[in-house]
Symmetry: C2
Subunit: 252 residues, 2 copies
């Protein structure tokens, strides 16, 4: 058996992204400068931050008029009521709201802190960055753009960094997918000795997003990674496959 | 800036593991056969299954006498009462027990389904595989053995595949660590434009375990992966860093 080997290669040199930027074009250009030829067997992982920026998914806090609920909660926990208001607007359900932490279900169905809203630029620029409206569409757009620029159609994953219950620290996960199945399904398969498998449904796109984070880091200006050598299963793909079904969700 | 690049290389050819096996010696030998020279800058990810086997962490179901509680619950959900009994013995707390699913806190402090007990061999061999008693010690033992065999001291991660609340599918995470810090801490750092970072504490060992899973798969006989090119922070390391602190746990 040949040894399986995967490479995770950071793509750097992507300029500061502004609303309306041609993200795919910029990624293709940066890859080319690195002498990296993108192939249809590759997977591109693109961090949510630059996707949201290119899509203009930001809210000026000066324009936000907080509700009474947001104002009361903000006062209680010493928060900016406009930031609380943005989190509430981006959510369809509050899962938990305690000790100053808001765990919400976003309109997409992601369950995460603060509806995935990024406040890290709030104090500097006065803006809150929102998740893409339809992250699968964002991934498809990037994929189409890459195809136009390179004639190759890699799978594309939009990644974000989420915390998780009962385990400290955050990890990168997939919030948008194009060109590949989200999961690897082992149901009904046996191991080398003929025993049933303990694990049946692997969230491969989340593992790929995590692998990409290892080269992205947070401060080094690498918002995109190319993963090579992983045999993904082609398909349209959607983040919806990863959303938990309410009927088997023990923690609703 | 040089382009960051990471390789994830599967180590195959490791024979069926029996209790008492010299796991580090077998890994070193298999790597050598692959002409893979292990260095102290590398990270070895070893799947829990072969660690538990080498440590004899199995229970013969024929020897298990289930309690009344286990028997009643098993009957209600059409389960093997001896399997339920093993799960209960491996837990210090039941987090949730509903619709036939047991989410427990193990004696180590991991919160997962079935106390991490692997029943996949139960019907075939009549045994339940338990998690290692002290997975950090398991990682240290493997690291020491690799050092003896190769004179290099890579970081070692013991990985297992866990589900997670509110997100379908399972991913590989770290349950034991030796030679590296579990987390990358960005607290107090700024991004390239001088803004605060949204994300502050990355569970790097979990992301490394996830990256390793991409070459391990589940059926292809690759229980170990070597990760090269990731600059980890040396330290003793422990899975305890990843356990959620009860005082900030919203979901207890």
């Amino acid at each position: 058996m040949p040894t399986p080997e995967i490479s995770v290669i950071g793509i750097s040199g992507i300029p500061e992204i502004r609303p309306g930027a041609d993200l795919a074009g910029l990624i293709a250009m940066s890859a080319k400068k690195q002498k990296l030829q993108i192939s249809s067997e590759d997977i591109l992982v693109v961090t949510q931050k630059i996707v949201s920026k290119a899509e203009g998914q930001e809210v000026k806090l000066a324009d936000v008029k907080p509700s009474k609920f947001a104002t009361d909660y903000a006062k209680q926990w010493n928060k900016d009521p406009r930031q609380v208001e943005v989190v509430l607007r981006e959510s369809k359900r509050i899962v938990k709201m305690d000790i100053g932490v808001m765990i919400t279900e976003t309109h997409h169905g992601f369950i995460c802190a603060n509806s995935g809203v990024d406040m890290s630029n709030a104090s500097k620029d006065g803006v809150a960055m929102l998740l893409p409206k339809d992250p699968d569409a964002s991934a498809r757009n990037i994929r189409d753009g890459i195809t136009r620029a390179t004639r190759s159609s890699p799978a594309v994953i939009i990644s974000d960094t989420f915390g998780r219950p009962w385990r400290d620290g955050q990890t990168n996960i997939a919030i948008g997918i194009a060109g590949m199945d989200a999961m690897v399904d082992y149901r009904g398969q046996k191991d080398t000795r003929g025993a049933e498998l303990k694990v049946t449904l692997i969230a491969a796109v989340d593992e790929l997003a995590s692998a990409a984070e290892l080269v992205m880091g947070k401060t080094i200006g690498v918002p995109v990674a190319l993963i090579r050598g992983y045999k993904y299963k082609s398909g349209p793909g959607t983040y919806k496959t990863l959303l938990y079904r309410p009927e088997v969700d023990l923690f609703r």
